[in-house]
């Protein structure tokens, strides 16, 4: 069983790149509804060096792990996943909301606070045994990432890790999703 790794401090030394990443994320109160402090990564995308550093931290981690595919969760996972995939020489697989992907798909439902949603992946995007990482900007309840893990495992892929820029505090120390490690760069800004 692997713990969630929060990268902010290793051996008591804080990577200055991570401080810059955390500082570049904007908190928007009460979005999309009252009580939610939304962690907005778009301000980080306006800082080319910070964006580049975030991608590099992920690429450095996965470079020697024989990753053949990067799956990104729509839509903000589409921003971070492709640069990582390109640097690793891996495929990029978009995981999408229903009815967006053309052709044959498999679908996985997941629970929201009220109701359910679902995530889809193309049939044939990934082969059994392929080593895959899943990317999204933020992990909160883990519901979406769990659905993503399930989609990939149903077709026989080996989900090596889930990677997010931001994680909610509950992910600090000891949580994992479906038995898969979750790697997070910074914790949520409140």
């Amino acid at each position: 069983m692997k713990e969630v790794v929060m990268l902010e401090e290793e051996n008591g030394v804080v990577d200055p790149r991570l401080q810059a990443i955390k500082a570049a994320i904007r908190v928007v109160p009460h979005f999309p509804k009252p009580g939610i402090m939304f962690n907005d990564i778009t301000t980080m995308l306006l800082r080319p060096k910070v964006f580049k550093d975030a991608v590099e931290i992920f690429v450095d981690r996965y470079r020697d792990m024989s990753i053949s595919a990067v799956a990104g969760v729509e839509a903000r996972g589409f921003i971070f996943g492709p640069p990582i995939a390109l640097a690793l020489g891996a495929k990029f697989i978009p995981l999408r909301k229903p009815k967006k992907l053309p052709g044959e798909v498999i679908s996985e439902s997941y629970v929201l606070e009220y109701g359910t949603d679902s995530l889809e992946m193309h049939v044939g995007a990934v082969q059994p045994g392929e080593r895959v990482i899943i990317i999204d900007d933020l992990v909160a309840t883990g519901g979406t990432l769990c659905a993503a893990i399930n989609l990939l495992e149903r077709v026989g892929a080996d989900v090596v890790e889930c990677a997010c820029l931001i994680g909610l505090p509950k992910f600090k120390g000891g949580c994992w999703l479906n038995g898969k490690p979750v790697y997070v760069l910074v914790d949520c800004r409140q």
Partner: protein, 186 residues
């Protein structure tokens, strides 16, 4: 069938592989539409890299400070280009997805209208911007994107798409702004 833009003349050797990696899905999202599916391109790391490289080679050193990508497939191609040329990446999104203050631009669909939004303050007057999407069809969405950027004071240098559907004449909708595409599909 997709083919490179200039037919047989002077085509970069990478274009053939890119065009061949795009899958056409008939009758999606509705009957009569031959959908150009770039997800198969994304499953081919070499084709994906060549696609990005072709754009980067065109824009590097041209003082482009902003790459704006149209949700959602513009989010796949825009960021790698932005990172390689050292530009900001700005997501242009469907309504109510961007938190905080936004400006909004309506555009016409076959039936009804839709809307694209951009964050206030993402772009500064004087920014030189590219607009990136996977495909140009009628040009309606690209037009809305250009309007958003220009309203915020940016100069739109060029629109860049992987695929053009020339019969839909989207190019003519761009108010004289240049359009650069890698493959045409008829």
């Amino acid at each position: 069938m997709a083919c490179g833009k200039d037919g047989e003349q002077e085509q970069d050797p990478r274009i053939g592989g890119i065009a061949a990696s795009i899958r056409v899905v008939p009758d999606f999202p509705k009957k009569g539409i031959m959908f150009q599916d770039i997800t198969t391109l994304l499953l081919d790391p070499k084709a994906f890299k060549n696609t990005v490289d072709l754009f980067v080679e065109r824009y590097i050193g041209k003082d482009v400070s902003v790459v704006a990508g149209i949700e959602a497939r513009g989010f796949i191609f825009g960021p790698p280009i932005a990172l390689a040329i050292g530009a900001k990446f700005i997501p242009l999104r469907k309504p109510r997805k961007l938190p905080g203050e936004v400006i909004s631009e309506k555009y016409v669909l076959e039936y009804g209208t839709d809307c694209l939004e951009m964050h206030v303050g993402a772009v500064q007057p004087g920014d030189r911007a590219l607009v990136v999407d996977d495909l140009i069809a009628t040009g309606g969405t690209l037009c809305a994107a250009m309007n958003l950027l220009e309203r915020a004071g940016a100069e739109v240098v060029e629109c860049a798409c992987v695929i053009e559907l020339p019969e839909l004449k989207g190019r003519e909708k761009l108010n004289g702004k240049p359009l650069y595409v890698l493959v045409e599909s008829r």
